[in-house]
Amino acid sequence: MSIQTILGNEAIALGVVEQGCRVVTAYPGTPSSEILSGVVKFKKQLNRNIYTEWSTNEKVAFEVALAASWSGLRAAVAMKQVGLNVASDPLFSSAYTGVKGGFLIIPADDPGPHSSQTEQDSRLLALTAKVPVFDPSSPEEAREMVGLALELSERYRTPVILRPTTRLCHAVQSLEIDDLIPPENAIPEVKFRKDPKRWTATPKFRNLLHKELNNKLLEIEEEFNKSTLNFVLYDDINSSIGIIASGVAFHTVEQSLAELGNQIPILKIGTPHPLPRKIVEEFSARFDKVLVIEEPDVCIEIQLNSREKVHGRFDETFPKAGELTPEVVTSILHTIFNKAGITVNSPPNDVELEDLVSSLPLPIRRPRLCPGCSHRSAFYTIKKEFGSKGIYPGDIGCYTLGMNLRAVDTFVDMGASITMANGFYQANQILNDKRPIIATIGDSTFLHSGIPSLINAVHTGARFVLVILDNRTTAMTGFQPTPANTELADGSDAAQNVSIVDLVRACGVDYVKEVDPYNQDEFQELLQAAFEYSQSLSGSVAVVIADRPCVLYDPTPLNENPIPVVITEECDGCRYCLEVFECPAMSLSSDKSRVDINQKICVDCGQCLDSCYKGFILPDLTSIINKQEVPSLTRSD
């Protein structure tokens, strides 16, 4: 037996590998990204035969895994919660058709939100799609639930969701690992068998399948009523108040009660859909007041038959938005106990200290593009060419941070930059608004869902400039390969890479140019030409591909040609460069008299040279001659 530390996402991955999933797919997205890389790691470590892929998008990932399940193999698909929106079409359909091999869907929710555009609750989507949900509270439990979920999926021939949240995905827990791993089972004697009434069900049969699904859910609810995943903690304690909790919130509640020095019964729900109503009702009957504590929304609460003595998010006992942090939970429980005349400890936080710290002018650390990031050069030049009158639809990735340089005005979802540009163009026609429209999208996002948008824009005759920021990787989520790379999910170099330029042409775009955005002048000329083309008589969408690898992913071109810079004595601290270029390596000196370069993080890209209009940022010639070694570009965070 050995104790190891394991990241929540990797605990899920280990479950997926040890439970014999044969096909595992994903599209990267925080907080879910380490699930697939974990599967790759464990399949290599344990020498398991598993097909893994980073798919083009979540719908693709879902369907590839689904086909494996329909062929009788165990399969899993992972994504972030908004990815399940993209995959919601096959989600709903496959709930009706059912599955064959165990089929596990893992959408990671993001209460807060920390890295997402919404705080949506995948369990509510599951409720609508009529898919059972397992809601783990710790990495350890998540790993355990993988097997139980796959087994349920096989018995009822239904897809099953395992829903972790950010705090679980990014928690590292100590676990006993080695001994528990079951041996790999032989490849099952299965294959895809035709079944027209199911796999190609027409509306008439769909109606039957819907009824079948409803019956499955009733039976599963019965089963969940007996499941040990739903249990009561502090069961024998007398109390007028009881708590129903699920997911990470369960452990947060446990901790809050410890801080307050009070214990009351907690019904821990591991399977929030279908809700094990019998357990819930029997539990609730024992108390005057029942608190429902779950994240990020109301999956358990919404399924209750009666909410008479229930306090949760609906009556705003718990806030309707935001994460249930230990502070939030403790302070609410404290108030409730006080009102009920139960004496408890005060919350442990020191209000005086908190007030002082929040009143201090600590630097606001908004996320910024890395030093040397090619996106910064691209946004800087776009902004320089089109100024503040440009309309800048942006997209999802590191480069959403182009908003800091005021070169991203909107982001909606994956691929929306192009469609929003298309829509702005049509609206501007009606409004007689002549402002230039410049959309930006990353390589992975373009391949994810930019292509149909581009086809639509070309087809309907929209005119705008599209800049594809091709940094040759999915940088934001940890450098997963895209279909434009030759790398596969398992690290091998066997992929057939698709060409973004060819794809753009095939969408009907005549004007496509590639340029290294580090060559700011050339890039600017091309932007100008692209815009002119888009406005010309026979013009259409013009595409400029800003082609340079992410400086963290592949620093080779930078290391080959470093340009150290100095800020001269004449710098007067006007902050212009900080405003327009915002490199994290540049900051105002402590006496605010000038801007200094932090050599610890400066990567000598020389891209800021143009950002001082007074010409006080210069190439550091002495250093270029003396300095053989460039600071190494590693990022340990």
């Binding site: 104790i3 190891q4 530390t5 990241l7 925080t30 907080p31 990204s33 920390h114 890295s115 509270s137 710790s138 705090r167 679980l168 990014h170 928690a171 590292v172 827990q173 100590s174 990470v248 452990h251 947060t252 446990e254 901790q255 809050s256 410890a258 801080e259 942090t325 230990p326 502070e327 403790t330 919350p347 442990p348 936080n349 020191d350 005086e352 200290l353 908190e354 002082l356 710290v357 201090l360 600590l362 630097p363 650390r365 908004r366 996320p367 593009l369 890395c370 590191c398 941070l401 934001m476 989520t477 994290p584 050599q599 610890k600 993080i601 600071p631 190494s632 590693t634 340990s636 965070d637």
Partner: protein
């Protein structure tokens, strides 16, 4: 023991956290850690929560941390509310914490020890090892519960930037720490070395 590790993206907060986590399991403690990923890493404030031998909630509640290790003085101040009365702050700074908090620090009996780890790291040859210097300072603290040897093994197992340099950085932090704590409450018997 509840530990908060704070700093800025790129300073190696997560690496430092992982070293502590590794050492904790070598010492056979149960462990729950919460890391920052994604957007928060792009140059913003980064903070990890490390619970050694505590419960399974991933986050430490404000007012309950025993130790705050910060690679940046402003981030140290930002995270002060996590500390309980009598806790310890170890900060990478030339001159401790900003004046404005000293009254509260005294009131809450919080002890602050600072080390110019950035400068020391550059002297050692790599600005990247400031985090490991701070780990040395941490390990020398008499109240720190993890074993000196376990920390060294952790560095050996998951060392980056070259092991030799890491060990050098660790020792530099440890030795300066010993001197510092001696001035206060250092008693060698409480630590394994």
């Amino acid at each position: 023991m509840n530990i908060i590790v704070a700093g800025l993206g790129g300073q190696g907060v997560i690496y430092l956290t992982r070293l502590l986590a590794k050492a904790a399991i070598i010492d056979k403690h149960s462990l729950m850690v919460s890391e920052s990923h994604g957007m928060s890493q792009r140059g913003g404030s980064v903070v990890s929560h490390l619970k050694v031998g505590g419960n399974k909630a991933p986050l430490i509640q404000r007012g309950t941390a025993d130790l705050l290790i910060s690679l940046d003085p402003d981030e140290a101040v930002r995270n002060l509310p996590f500390l309980r009365r009598g806790a310890t702050v170890l900060v990478n700074s030339e001159d401790g914490l900003m004046q404005e908090v000293s009254e509260q620090i005294t009131r809450l009996e919080i002890q602050v020890f600072s080390l110019p780890a950035n400068r020391m790291a550059i002297e050692l040859g790599s600005p990247a090892v400031a985090n490991v210097i701070m780990l040395g300072l941490t390990t020398a603290n008499p109240l720190f519960e993890l074993n000196y040897e376990s920390i060294l093994v952790a560095i050996d197992i998951i060392g980056s930037n070259g092991k030799e340099l890491n060990i050098k950085a660790f020792e530099a932090g440890f030795n300066s720490g010993k001197e510092k704590y001696l001035e206060y409450i250092y008693s060698p018997s409480k630590n394994s070395k």
